[in-house]
């Protein structure tokens, strides 16, 4: 099948040389990065951008460290410079420092960068310093392809401040070679009396992880473990906790806020739903690899991607790492929606509802904006538009460690992964289906995007990590977080937080 496709595309492209579409090859000769597709027509295609002349102008960009997002930024900068004659300076900054690196100059009234990369949940703090995406780009062919939820994540109350270049979400990654292995299924059934299948609840997840913890189940001579999770008390940790919380605490029948009760602005964070999730998480410390409660995202990726654990559930990276060409577990992993739960807390009635519940967490991910004070805004938007034009985006998707993930409707075509990346069709299908279903779900949670968001998330990280370390019980830890949240709300001003939070709730309640 694959061979036929390759031959076919070879034939097609050889035909194309002599056709009017020969531009594709003109550009791909010059820019080998897009050799798989050639230029794809669009408002920001190579062809269109090459018509611009930015000679003598300088574009300054702060982006993430190489390679994730950082490398495509630098690569497209190089291409952009070649096409337009502009000078493009790129700085690379570790993820944790991106916020401060841009925020310090913003607050000081400066704009040392024309383009700043960050995360989508910076939007509320940053938007006053960012230029809204102009109409021209909103109507571009490239933008039209972006999924609705990613337009929502990039916008604040209908105005887009962040240019979509990447899509992020949390989903479940599992070892297909174990879960789908009949021998293992038999063994698991014999030992536990339960079916071994892709877990649909966190309880199942925990049981399986515990069962597959601490023994060599893939026969490589090393011990394997249950699950790799972001448990290190850093800036990403709270997201992992929210991913585990949505199943218990996001009730589609109680609109009006997941993190807070929008009306009263009372934190929900210590309600039984969240406490249940944290209890699960504390339990999880028993089936993570040694040192697992000090794992950051990098460790999680390394651990799952390196074949050390059965499960993992945060950003795409671990999955992509596992599917790299040189990975020992290439085509041995599967993607699935986050587990759900058999019960969900109803904060209105104050009771558990014994109904199956599952909710995708549209976690924040890479986002990028153009500084309001930038003197080269047009060039900056052209660059961003160029960054994610059809040809670049498809080529970027194919390179795992670029960190560019699907966010366009056209990205959910399994063939893309089968052809260009050599994925097993079954895996590609489950991957795209998982992502597509998240887009369709009506019971989603969007990231918290109120002002001073880091005070809130940092409090969550501190509280939950105390629970993970056994310093506090889950209830005590979350009570502490709730108290801290209330203090922050009163410091920031209830009205302000409420106003900001309403924007997110509108999306969650599918009203936008």
């Amino acid at each position: 099948m694959k061979i036929i496709k390759t031959c076919l595309s070879a034939v097609i492209s050889s035909v194309l040389i002599f056709s009017p579409m020969a531009y594709a090859d003109k550009w791909s000769d010059q820019f080998p990065h897009i050799k798989a597709t050639g230029d794809i027509p669009g408002d920001c295609s190579y062809e269109e951008i090459s018509k611009k002349n930015y000679k003598g102008k300088t574009l300054k960009i702060n982006t993430h460290a190489v390679p994730v997002i950082g490398q495509p930024t630098a690569l497209h900068a190089e291409q952009f410079a070649k096409l337009t004659g502009a000078t493009v300076d790129v700085t690379h900054t570790p993820a944790g420092d991106l916020y401060a690196k841009a925020m310090v100059p913003f607050k000081a009234g400066q704009a040392p960068y024309d383009i700043v990369f960050g995360f989508s949940n910076f939007i509320n703090d940053w938007r006053q310093y960012l230029a809204p995406v102009p109409k021209k780009y909103m109507n571009s062919t490239e933008m039209k392809d972006v999924t609705k939820s990613h337009v929502g994540v990039s916008s604040w109350d209908g105005t887009m401040y962040q240019y979509p270049v990447d899509g992020d979400r949390h989903y479940l990654k599992y070892r297909k070679d174990v879960i789908d292995n009949p021998e293992m299924q038999k063994k698991y059934k014999a030992d536990t009396g339960k079916e071994l299948k892709v877990p649909t609840t966190w309880k199942e997840y925990g049981e399986m992880a515990k069962y597959f913890n601490g023994w060599d189940w893939d026969g490589d001579g090393e011990k394997e473990y249950g699950s790799a999770e972001v448990m290190k008390k850093d800036d990403l940790m709270f997201a992992a906790f929210f991913s585990r919380s949505v199943a218990y605490a996001k009730n589609p029948r109680t609109p009006g806020g997941f993190f807070f009760d929008l009306e009263t602005m009372k934190p929900n964070i210590n309600n039984p739903g969240f406490v249940e999730a944290l209890t699960d998480w504390v339990e999880a410390t028993k089936y993570v690899p040694p040192g697992g409660i000090n794992f950051g995202l990098g460790d999680e990726i390394g651990s799952f991607g390196g074949g050390q654990t059965l499960f993992s559930f945060s950003w795409d990276d671990a999955f992509i790492a596992a599917m790299q060409d040189d990975s020992p577990i290439k085509n041995k992993v599967g993607a699935a929606p986050l587990p759900g739960s058999d019960k969900v807390w109803n904060r209105v009635s104050g009771k558990w509802e014994n109904k199956y519940n599952q909710a995708p967490y549209i976690v924040w991910g890479w986002a990028v904006g153009v500084a309001k004070k930038s003197k080269v805004q047009e060039m900056a938007f052209d660059y961003l538009c160029f960054f994610s034009n059809g040809a670049n985006h498809q080529a970027d998707l194919a390179i795992g460690n670029f960190g560019v993930n699907p966010f366009k409707n056209s990205d959910f075509d399994p063939n893309l992964y089968i052809d260009t990346m050599g994925w097993d069709p079954e895996i590609a299908n489950s991957y795209t289906k998982t992502l597509k279903d998240m887009e369709k779900s009506k019971n989603r949670v969007f990231p918290l995007r109120v002002r001073g968001v880091f005070e809130f998330t940092s409090a969550v990280a501190t509280g939950t990590s105390k629970a993970l370390a056994g310093q506090l019980s889950p209830q005590e830890a979350l009570d502490e977080v709730a108290k801290e949240w209330e203090a922050i709300v009163s410091r920031v001003g209830k009205k302000n937080v409420q106003e900001d939070y309403a924007v997110g709730v509108k999306m969650e309640d599918n009203k936008l």
């Binding site: 401060a100 008390k233 993970l468 370390a469 310093q471 203090a487």
Partner: protein
Amino acid sequence: MNFKQKYVFLFPGLFVLIGILIFPIIFVVRLSLSGWNSYNGLNFIGLENYIRLFTDDPRFWQSFFRLSFLSVTTVVLQYVIGFALAHMVWKDIKFQRFFRVLFLIPMMTTPVIMTVIWRTFFHESLGPVNDILSNFGMSPKWLTDPTLAKITVIIVEVWQWTPFMFLLLLAGLLSLPKEPFLAAAIDGASPIRKFIYVTFPLMAPISIGAIIIRLIEASKIMDTVYVLTSGGPGTSTETSSFYIFIKGLREFQMGYAASMSFTYLIIMIISLTFIAKGLTKLLLKD
């Protein structure tokens, strides 16, 4: 000596320092009276930050005591080990130059980078330490046990900064006058007595200086904690400067972070003064 030229010597340095610092220092004080954060500008909220700090932030004080424990422990260890090493390579030892240079090197590594190496070194499933220890049936939780994590931080700090003590003390030893040692030798003093009654007292002034400056530096312990544990597990390795860092650059509560820093500065100046006096009393008896 007292010539008017003395000002020409002192003032360039002093004024350059003051010139560069006067604005930042005043600004920090002003900042500490504001609610400067991600959404507020440089407003004026009086002593609110300080009230919050003193009445409603046990975490700051916990981190401060943790810091005191960590910095005092590391500095004491650095001093003892540094002195021992300096004394050992002071004279008659083989490969003297080699050891002297070798013992200096850890100080020259950039903490943010070197600590990453240490993190991999102590990595509980992929690092060499537990790989070797597992042969003996041990697998200490270097970074995930609240107590052991503190010890790991101490180990890394000791590794990095013992050379500082070592260098100062070795330089001190090498510049000691010879006469007292001759006298001690004539008296037939044992090596231990010689150390207690001759070497140590002669080294007291330099020791005090070295300890104080190390305390100042150790109190800023931050990169190590950030990279190794991010203050975890829980809050068990969180120090003042790391907490200020979290509040300041992560949560962007700059006003509050400034008030913490200013308070911290005052506490440090006072306690360092006392420590310096105490050490002087302790080590320079006459």
